[in-house]
């Protein structure tokens, strides 16, 4: 299989490589709360995937078969479904990391005053 087929999957791996280290660096507990994570990510993912299936069927956009993996589910490449888990996870990790960073900043400011 030519490397080119992995172009979309590579982007998802890039996002994971960028956001998963936040968990350790900021001492987050996101991945230790699988139930909360599933309840936050899955309902939104289902709605957006349904939108995506409808929009693809309506011809709003399409995916280059030469730059995606061969597997198609309801007309979408597998990567597109993974997108709706990876991107929201990256959003939550970023939101939590910013929360920790702001809290540290506030404590440092309070300690100085």
């Amino acid at each position: 299989m030519p490397l080119r087929h992995g172009a979309y999957a590579a982007m998802l791996l890039f996002v994971l490589a960028g956001c998963l280290p936040l968990h350790r660096v900021y001492g987050l507990s996101v991945l230790r709360q699988p139930r909360r994570l599933a309840l936050a990510v899955l309902p939104v993912a289902v709605v957006f995937a349904a939108w995506d299936v409808a929009a693809t069927a309506a011809g709003h956009w399409h995916f280059d078969p030469s730059q995606t993996l061969a597997v198609r589910v309801a007309g979408l490449p597998l990567e597109e479904y993974a997108f709706f888990v990876v991107i929201p996870l990256a959003g939550i990790l970023t939101y939590e990391a910013v929360g920790v960073a702001l809290e540290r900043h506030r404590r440092r400011a309070a300690a100085r005053s």
């Binding site: 172009a7 979309y8 982007m11 890039f14 996002v15 960028g18 709360q33 909360r36 994570l37 309840l39 936050a40 990510v41 309902p43 939104v44 957006f48 939108w51 929009a55 309506a58 011809g59 709003h60 956009w61 399409h62 995916f63 280059d64 730059q67 995606t68 709706f84 991107i87 929201p88 990256a90 959003g91 939550i92 970023t94 939101y95 990391a97 910013v98 929360g99 702001l102």
Partner: protein, 112 residues
């Protein structure tokens, strides 16, 4: 319904869910906007990859611009249609609002 209209509706729904339905009010916090600024930067990078290489291609009649792939202008920012920015904003806001909402609810002990 075009992608443009659907994306605007998506943002409207996400804002309503955050402010009115779940009352998480992330939009009123600097924490959300800082996090979103970081997400937006990386969206421009990764979405630019998806759209600039034509991994995802758009029909001219669904977006403000045309199906021509261009870096800036013709309804595109860093190769991606502006609609994608609305799509991403709605997706991440809804998820973070749901995350905060679920986390704030007292977890009931399972019966029996």
């Amino acid at each position: 319904m075009t992608y443009t209209l659907a994306a605007v509706v998506g943002v409207g729904v996400a804002v309503a869910v955050d402010l009115v339905v779940l009352r998480t009010r992330l939009l009123a916090t600097s924490r959300w906007w800082l996090a979103y600024a970081i997400v937006l930067f990386f969206q421009l990078l990764t979405n630019g990859w998806l759209t600039g290489r034509g991994i995802v291609r758009y029909a001219s009649d669904a977006i403000i611009g045309s199906s021509r792939i261009t870096f800036l202008g013709d309804g595109r920012v860093v190769w991606a249609p502006v609609e994608d920015l609305l799509f991403g904003f709605a997706l991440v806001l809804l998820t973070c609002a749901a995350w905060v909402w679920v986390g704030a609810r007292p977890r009931r002990a399972s019966p029996r």
